[in-house]
């Protein structure tokens, strides 16, 4: 029987790449295939996940398969890709360009640079297949040298079914579900996410349209990005919105769900996304989505939300107001998002796409 190793530099709960890895594992396992997850940093308790150093005990034959998740520089992983004699499929999640991190974090610059350099190598290895989270990622992969005939779009598996079943955190519901309109954004607090523009857009909305509003930014605050985080905080203080803007830091799934539940609008002004799973999570819950359509964002939202081609904070602020104040627009947009999710991004649909694309290697 073919052995399938799913490889990723790090596995944890709550990040998009890990959700995709675990989703793939479950689907392949359901097919009664011999499948394992191999990672260098294992941050979840699961005995079935093995250290990457043990992969050669599992992948022994040419017919065996590695599914390699690429989103950042990982030298050990790249060495395996070039040294192991087996079939190889890449799952590409996008690499954030290093430029965003200059002046904030040398480590992030190096990791992203490594990711881009390795992307150039991987794309030219002429492997069996290149699966990409989005059209944006696929175009990038082809531009780096991968053969178009070997490139496919396979959206990442998600955690939405699990979120749906969780008990919410009632402390959050009681604290934030009040008269204020909550505008939510989810994503790690990093310079490519465009939070400065989001804060400015929110400030306009709050000042000119609705004083009773709040911006909640849910996402991990990495210590190595403290310079950027301090910069954001200074901005919030400078414009005098300390009481209306909340940075939650890293949250667990129950808390994440609760922030979605109290959100009236999901807003995104990110400059770079390879897919943006939180958009799909918001759409699945009928939360109207308003976004700046950079990189993969427009393709992920499709006709399920309002996407602006320019990052104009006046436009974002007035769009929020329009959606919040018009009952019909509000519900229509929520339903449009849900329909986008239902028709394109349920795990059932992603499973069909995934298995049909990689079927010949199983």
């Amino acid at each position: 029987m073919t052995h399938i190793a799913i490889c990723t530099p790090e596995i944890s709960y709550g990040d998009a790449v890990s959700s995709d890895v675990l989703g793939m594992f479950n689907i392949l396992n359901e097919q009664n295939l011999k499948v394992g997850i191999f990672a260098e940093n294992i941050l979840i308790k699961d005995k079935t996940i093995k250290n990457i150093d043990f992969i050669s005990d599992f992948i022994k034959y040419r017919k065996d398969l590695i599914i390699y998740h690429h989103s950042a520089g990982w030298f050990k992983g790249l060495n395996l890709l070039t040294s192991l004699d087996c079939k190889k499929i890449i799952k590409y999640h996008g690499v954030t360009p290093p430029d965003y991190f200059y002046g904030f974090s040398r480590d992030h610059v190096e990791t992203c640079k490594g990711g881009i350099e390795q992307l150039n190598i991987i794309a030219n290895l002429d492997l069996e297949m290149y699966l990409n989270d989005s059209r944006f990622d696929m175009v990038e992969m082809i531009s780096k040298g991968a053969k178009a005939s070997k490139c496919f779009i396979v959206p990442p598996f998600n955690n939405i079914g699990r979120l749906k079943g969780l008990k919410p955190d009632f402390f959050i519901l009681e604290k934030y579900n009040g008269k204020e309109v909550n505008i939510l954004s989810v994503g790690r607090v990093a310079p490519n996410k465009g939070f400065i523009e989001l804060i400015d857009a929110f400030a306009l909305y709050n000042k000119y349209f609705n004083k009773e509003s709040r911006l909640i930014i849910v996402g991990d605050k990495h210590p190595r990005l403290s310079a950027y985080i301090d910069f954001l905080y200074d901005r919030v203080r400078y414009i005098g919105f300390d009481n209306s803007i909340v940075f939650t830091g890293k949250v667990n799934d129950e808390q994440l769900k609760s922030y979605f539940l109290i959100a009236k609008i999901f807003a995104l002004t990110s400059h770079h996304e390879g897919f943006c799973l939180p958009l799909v999570e918001a759409m699945s819950m009928k939360i109207p989505v308003i976004a700046y359509g950079s990189t993969a964002v427009a393709d992920t939202i499709g006709d399920g939300g309002i996407v602006w081609g320019d990052l104009d904070i006046n436009l974002i602020a007035s769009t929020i107001n329009e959606v919040v104040t018009s009952e019909d627009v509000y519900f229509f947009l929520g339903e449009a998002g849900w329909r986008r999710y239902k028709n394109n991004f349920t795990n059932k649909i992603i499973k069909e796409i995934f298995l049909s694309v990689i079927g010949k290697y199983l």
């Binding site: 749906k164 079943g165 008990k167 919410p168 009632f170 519901l173 009681e174 579900n177 909550n182 979605f260 539940l261 109290i262 959100a263 009236k264 819950m285 009928k286 939360i287 009952e327 509000y330 519900f331 929520g334 339903e335 849900w338 239902k342």
Partner: protein
């Protein structure tokens, strides 16, 4: 033969419930002209929605009942969300004007849906079925507003096929604004009574719809032969149906006005009934037995403030039994006032006076009975309801 689907949260002969009875009634009315499928869950109990019945098809009385397993029953913590909703409801009500539309609870959609979803019963398989097969039906009738089978189900089928039977009554969850949105998604709304229609318009605005209601059994039954005079209540014996107050009032009445009068109760009991010979609990009784009990009762009592149609009140009227009803439910008030088939009470004194008046004035009581029956025959005979329903469905071509 064209297909009609009726979506209802549960369907089984053991189930007692107004909307469930209405779904079954519509299915039976339509089965001669259409191939009727009842789409429902495997649940029977409405407190937890556990999977009890087998999944799959059952043919009953010529109707195909398709049962789908419940994937989300009542969540343990649903009461906590419910409490937040009640707080919000009271908060909005205390601030708002008398306009009902201003009282809508404008929670974010995701939170409103969490309340509906975790209330249960939700069935992934039923939703998949509606998505895949909804197009095959000429019309899909969704019964009762509050439950996830209706709310979420309506998003899975083409809007042009939706007939919505909300069975509205004035209770806090109905003020969630998402219900207004799903009501707008329907092609037509069928109301059970004029008062429900008025309430719906005040709450959701003007929407396409008409009053249809249910047909009521009008064949006269022989009176049940009990060895004592009795007041009858039929339906769920529940605090929300006003039954705790009914029992308190009745026991006080017996102290104030001693006699051999008893209170007879039929239906699912969800309260602790006092042990006394004055209160006779008969549990769930067959339809025939229920009509006989109605026919033999001195008074049919309706204490519930939460009725959307109150079929039992109409059934008792059809058996010429005078009605004594609390003035808490718009629809029951409408039945009593339009028919002159009974009296309304408010508070214990009204309750006591009402009973004594009916028991002591045989001629007036008989007259109420006659008028009640006339009202039911005129407005709720089965043929008339069938024609209204069929005309609406035919208009979908």
């Amino acid at each position: 033969m064209k297909r009609i689907a009726i979506v209802i949260q549960r369907c089984h002969e053991k189930v007692v419930g107004g909307s469930e009875a209405e779904a079954w009634h519509y299915a039976n009315l339509l089965k001669e002209d259409f191939k009727v499928h009842i789409l429902t869950t495997t649940a029977v109990d409405s407190e937890r929605w556990d999977n009890v019945l087998p999944e799959g098809d059952e043919i009953s009385n010529g109707i195909c009942i398709k049962r789908f397993k419940v994937s989300q029953g009542r969540a343990d913590y649903w009461g906590e969300i419910c409490k937040q909703l009640l707080d919000e409801f009271n908060n909005v009500r205390s601030k708002s004007s008398t306009k009902l539309v201003k009282r809508l609870i404008e929670w974010p959609t995701a939170l409103q849906e969490e309340f509906i979803y975790k209330q249960g019963p939700y069935s992934d398989d039923l939703m998949d079925f509606l998505s895949e097969k909804g197009e095959d039906y000429k019309a899909i009738i969704f019964l009762t507003c509050l439950y996830p089978t209706t709310y979420f189900g309506m998003f899975h089928v083409p809007r042009g096929k939706i007939i919505f039977v909300p069975t509205l009554h004035d209770e806090p969850p109905i003020y969630l604004s998402v219900y207004k949105y799903v009501a707008k998604r329907s092609r037509i709304i069928l109301w059970n009574t004029e008062s429900e229609y008025r309430f719906g318009r005040l709450l959701w605005g003007e929407l396409p719809g008409c009053v249809v209601g249910m047909g009521v059994e009008t064949k006269e039954s022989p009176p049940a032969e009990l060895n004592f005079p009795y007041i009858l209540y039929c339906g769920r014996i529940d605090i929300n149906k006003g039954c705790a107050q009914l029992i308190d009032y009745f026991l006080k009445f017996k102290k104030d006005c001693p006699s051999d009068l008893c209170l007879v109760l039929t239906g699912d009991n969800r309260t602790k009934l006092p042990t006394t010979k004055d209160i006779v609990f008969k549990g769930n009784v067959p339809e025939v037995k229920k009509l006989e009990l109605m026919s033999g009762a001195s008074i049919f009592i309706m204490p519930s403030p939460n009725e959307s149609f109150s079929i039992v009140t109409l059934e008792a009227m059809a058996q010429k039994t005078p009605i004594l009803a609390s003035n808490g439910s718009e629809v029951v008030i409408e039945h009593v006032k339009k028919s002159d088939g009974g009296l309304l009470y408010s508070g214990y004194e009204g309750f006591k006076t009402g009973i004594n008046f009916i028991l002591e004035n045989k001629h007036e009581a008989k007259d109420m009975g006659e008028k009640g029956r006339k009202y039911v025959i005129k407005n709720y005979n089965v043929g008339k309801i069938f024609k209204k329903l069929k005309d609406r469905i035919e208009s979908f071509d």
